[in-house]
């Protein structure tokens, strides 16, 4: 990775809360240093909607809770040389996966029918809406993931460490203090 061209980085949040993106922005002024070495492709930061072929690094926040998440993840895998799971939800399903011990129908009934104050509620079935998956899955259960940054969210320092390791062509590692699952 020593060539002069900037590495292209794409990011997305699937079944996540954007907390990992916020933590990424917490690298603060180091963003300027980073932008000397990378440019953003598809990302909530650029509003570009599709991943360009040959993108170098894809950062995926969030797990998979619906069919659109799976579609986006596959698009990232197809177009990114290196795919990184960013944060607890991408790594192990995280908070959204806590619905996994409940049947999906029970959840939809509860949310749209039986909750107090929801008289005549109906379960949305517009064809535009992506269908929820039966269970929430971490992303490595669907595509090959090259690196993982655990944490809820991972600290800015942990994200910085992995990105700078990758930019330098090193195998990313997180020592004590940067490795956190919480």
């Amino acid at each position: 990775m020593s060539e002069n061209r900037k590495l292209r980085v794409a990011t997305t949040s699937l079944a996540g809360c954007f907390g990992c993106h916020m933590s990424f922005l917490d690298i603060d002024e180091r963003l300027f240093t980073l932008l000397e070495h990378i440019e953003f492709d598809r990302s909530p930061l650029t509003d570009i909607k599709t991943v360009s072929p040959g993108t170098d690094i894809g950062l995926i926040e969030g797990g998979l809770c619906n069919a659109e998440n799976v579609h986006v993840l596959r698009e990232f895998r197809q177009n990114c040389k290196i795919l990184v799971a960013l944060g607890a939800c991408a790594v192990n399903g995280g908070l959204p996966a806590q619905r996994n011990h409940l049947p999906l129908t029970t959840i939809l009934e509860e949310v749209y029918h039986t909750s107090p104050g929801l008289a005549n509620g109906m379960i949305p079935n517009d064809p535009e809406l992506p269908l929820p998956l039966n269970k929430v899955h971490p992303i490595h259960e669907v595509v090959k993931i090259d690196y993982f940054i655990p944490g809820c969210p991972p600290s800015a320092d942990a994200i910085w460490k992995v990105l700078t390791d990758l930019l330098a062509g090193r195998e990313p590692t997180l020592g004590h203090g940067l490795m956190h699952y919480d």
Binding site: N100, K135, H137, H180
Partner: protein, 232 residues
Amino acid sequence: MSHTFTLDGKTIPFAEGQTILQAADAAGVFIPHLCYHPDFKPHGSCKLCTVKVNGRQTASCTMRALPGMVVESETEELNDERRALTQMLFVEGNHFCPSCETSGNCRLQATAYHLGMMSPHFDHFFPSRAVDASHPDVLLDFNRCILCSLCVRASRDVDGKNVFALSGRGIKTHLIVNAKSGRLADTNFTLADKAAQVCPVGVILPKRHGFAVPIGERKYDKAPISETTEGR
């Protein structure tokens, strides 16, 4: 005259009857372990403490030290296997660290950090396990049980109450409460029991103590498990 063996090339003294793990612990050398606790008879079930003795794998918590043994522990091969075992423990249960009161004080988590576990690697089981909040002072969250049996041993051997047991076989093994109802409230379990103090993960939790110490300032946040002195 004291006996010695070598552990990763280092000379370790031991007293007769000591296991490899006990002798290593006394010498300040860390061997990862989850089901071992210095106050109890070794169980030998988690296999995290597996070492090579004269070239053959064995659990160091149950293997008695003998003079002249050549023991390997910190090798890439053994740590790879320890990491795989730890990953299996994570995917077999429901270990959502961000919402766990034990996060930062958890031996499973700290061991995973020690082994550099960046991901669970395997597919998750997402098992369905009910919590038991029946007891006035203690919550049981079976989602996090790693079947170390420390609570079983503590309740049986120290408290003399036999409150806990492992039931079922193989992959269906699970922790149960010895009461007709299966509920902790219907036992004589109390917060003062030894069994209430030994859980290495977040199954046995005192109620009304949540987040007394904030995440980030807990035991293994401050120092890695390999550098904490207690064998706990």
